[in-house]
């Protein structure tokens, strides 16, 4: 039943990637309820608090869009980064340093490249599903469904792949788990605040606006709003940017994990 002699083993074999993902699925079955519950409850709470609270007192609408719908579409990006970067950071660190899971996987015919790709793909797919939840909740709060929204899971997937790669690379780089505090404070929180999810960035000083263009989350926010309120030509560029982000992070994650896992 062992491998047939002479069978070629290539790079990025679907069997290896599928096997690693099946491990994640088996684990997910033990904790999906909690994750799913909070992913649904969170946007509802935010929309009630921010949307209804703020629009009753301070802001009514942004660029002709009711504030609840503005925040609701923006929250897709928040959901994506929090269900990709953070699980990638903590999950990878725990599996590698505390549970020795990767030692066992790499003793099987699986390369670091396949391992990292499988972990990214799993996190990316999961986060793209969770990313759509705020959009559905916002529809419940009165946003009109639009055909363009059907592309949102794809935008979420590329963004989530990029942030999963980012999180995995960070897990390979940090020496101790509490150094994730720096990563969160320096990258995750600023990226999410200056994404345009909660307030339009064109009110910000010029410097911030340029920075925001480099922020994948901002591009995602714009794309989701495109899906809800109508795309523009520049959105193609945004998609290309997200694909490039995912690709670069994929290679960086593989490179850093190889350095960490192979002596």
């Amino acid at each position: 039943m062992s491998a047939q002699p002479g069978r070629r083993l290539r790079r990025l074999e679907p069997a290896a990637i599928g096997g690693v993902m099946s491990r994640e699925v088996a684990n997910f079955r033990t904790y999906w309820k909690g994750t799913t519950f909070s992913s649904i409850l969170e946007p509802i709470v935010y929309l009630l608090a921010f949307g209804l609270g703020l629009s009753a007192t301070l802001v009514d609408e942004v660029g002709g869009v009711p504030y609840v719908q503005f925040v609701g579409t923006g929250m897709v990006a928040t959901a994506v980064i929090f269900s990709s970067a953070l699980p990638a950071m903590f999950g990878t660190f725990v599996k590698h340093r505390f549970q020795n899971t990767y030692d066992a996987i790499l003793a099987a015919p699986v390369d670091v490249e396949e391992l990292v790709s499988a972990e990214m793909l799993w996190i990316g797919l999961r986060a793209s599903v969770y990313g759509c939840v705020p959009l559905l909740v916002t529809i419940g709060f009165g946003l009109d469904p639009a055909w363009g929204m059907l592309l949102v899971p794809i935008f979420c997937l590329f963004t989530a792949l990029g942030f999963a790669g980012f999180g995995i690379a960070m897990a390979a780089i940090v020496a101790k788990i509490d150094q994730f505090n720096y990563v969160t404070a320096l990258f995750v929180t600023p990226l999410f605040l200056v994404s345009g999810a909660f307030f339009p960035i064109d009110e910000l000083p010029q410097g911030f606006q340029i920075l925001a263009q480099l922020n994948p989350l901002h591009q995602l926010v714009e794309l989701v709003r495109g899906g809800a309120f109508g795309y523009e030509a520049v959105d193609l560029l945004r998609v290309a940017g997200l694909v490039a982000f995912a690709f670069v992070m994929w290679r960086i994650a593989i490179n850093r994990m190889e350095a960490r896992l192979i002596d």
Binding site: R23, A26, N100, A107, I262, D263
Partner: protein, 296 residues
Amino acid sequence: MAAIELRGAVKRFGPITAVDGLDLEVPEGICLGLLGPNGAGKSTTMRLLTGQAIADSGKLRVLGHELPGDSKAARAEMGVVPQLDNLDVDVTVEDNLAVYARLYRVPDVGAAVDKALDLARLRGRRRDAVDKLSGGMRRRLLLARGLVHEPKLILLDEPTVGLDPQIRTELWTLIDNLRTRGTTILMSTHYIEEAERLADEVAVMDKGKIIARATPAELIAAHAGTHTAEIYGPPERLTEVRAIAEGQGLPVRPAGPAIAIVGSERAADGAVPEDAVIRAASLEDVFVLLTGAEAE
């Protein structure tokens, strides 16, 4: 063809040379015990064999595959049982096995899982989460996971370290069954008894090199002789006895609170006191003489 062939393998970690020009050949079908004190380089050798460490120099072949280039093909045909338990604790017993059956590209995952469950005698617990199992069951599962694809070669890195004696005996039985079936086994250990019971041949490793290799009986005959005399008493007396024995060219080693004169059958009159406990020479005598380490 040998299952494992290492020629002049070197692995350095900064200033430390963990594996220092290691030559090791493991013929097919035997169980080789790699016996060495802490830090001898046993785990590093295992990691070289799975491609998780890359040698700085030397030639390495596993099951005919050149390392590190063809390491993936080699890994497909071998099984590894780690020193540390790294099962997925929240997941069921059968899912743990199924994941590895897939990673090893086993064509019929269900059948392979059933076989592994039988081997680990865990059929009745297949749907339980791993953290519901006893320590012994977890160990059996860990071993079965490494065997789920019925590998030709299996690497066991200190398979019973830190386990209580009953669990250890259970595992020994399982490993012995594998050996009978003809699976090639490379097993690192620092338990003498484990090597004595399971290994067809023992290689003593120290400071990254093999310093002796033969069957346990041959090693004992060559390095220890037939008998060992153990002498207990106050330190001054032991020092005295030691001096006399060493004066006659007999090796003496510490044995806990006692000292042991190895090869006491060769002692001239007066070297072995009347109250000495004479026993058959053991692999432990050889190990301590060769490595200078107190055995466990």
